[in-house]
Symmetry: C2
Subunit: 157 residues, 2 copies
């Protein structure tokens, strides 16, 4: 009955489980550190980062969802929360009356600036310090292959 299923051989199994364990442990560790040190989950940090890099420090909700790899719904809830924190505000899009722009406030920029050094240090410690330069290069190629293959090009829902 499983004649169609391309099961994983032991090597693949080992690779898959190691990858799962590593990526989960890494993201959870960084998420925990960020929550502890800056009072925000990693998803929110990413929103602030992307806004800080955008011209005018503002982005359309859909574009922000795209670059942060989240669904519209998730982003909508998240921005609502960031708005009550005073780190982001919304304004109407001038060219599309359906649209909303999320704008990074000065307080949001300050919160990001305060959080960044510790977080970057964490990324370096937990990821880059564990790998050789060749492995970092391999990881970039592998990740970019996966991103291409998965077609990460639209909001998740």
């Amino acid at each position: 009955m499983d004649l169609m299923t391309r099961w994983l051989d032991p090597d693949e199994q080992r690779t898959w489980r190691a990858f799962l364990t590593a990526s989960r442990a890494l993201t959870e560790t960084l998420d925990r550190e960020l929550q502890r040190d800056a009072g925000m989950p990693h998803a929110y940090y990413e929103i602030l980062v992307r806004l800080s890099e955008a011209p005018g420090r503002e982005l359309r909700m859909t574009d922000l969802a795209l670059v942060t790899g989240s669904s519209r719904s998730r982003l909508s809830h998240a921005v609502a929360r960031l708005e009550t924190a005073g780190w982001v505000r919304r304004r109407d899009c001038p060219t599309d009356r359906r649209g909303q722009l999320a704008v990074l406030t000065d307080a949001g920029f300050a919160a990001l600036a305060a959080a960044a050094p510790g977080h970057v240090e964490g990324v370096r410690r937990h990821l880059f310090d564990a790998l050789s330069p060749a492995q970092v290069d391999q990881l970039r190629r592998i990740s970019e292959s996966l991103v291409d293959h998965l077609g990460v090009d639209r909001p998740l829902s």
Copy 2:
């Protein structure tokens, strides 16, 4: 003020963001597929897998938390849910009166058997089909380095 911070250079930045996007997209895609096709999140699937591989199809809660990389609390909530689904039951540990054993039921095993082919196919399609054999090997080494480096050896909380 940032003299101490080892910032990421552009290559590292690119690697980090690609990795983040890839691992998030991969896990979310598989999670969504599993939820759609088998009615369970990936975390629950993993619990069933690990129980199915254990002698007697049962494990101590702490050990199960360890191998699934979850906190005791998460596991406790999850097993409670799996118990109401009829896929797992609990029994007292005979050698430690504090302890609980999570036991995979026949219904749980059947649910796992039904879910596995589709999920494995998804892993192959979304992960292995995107990579060359050399890259798979690299990914294994990289992931194992990370796991070692992160010290994944105890429940998360």
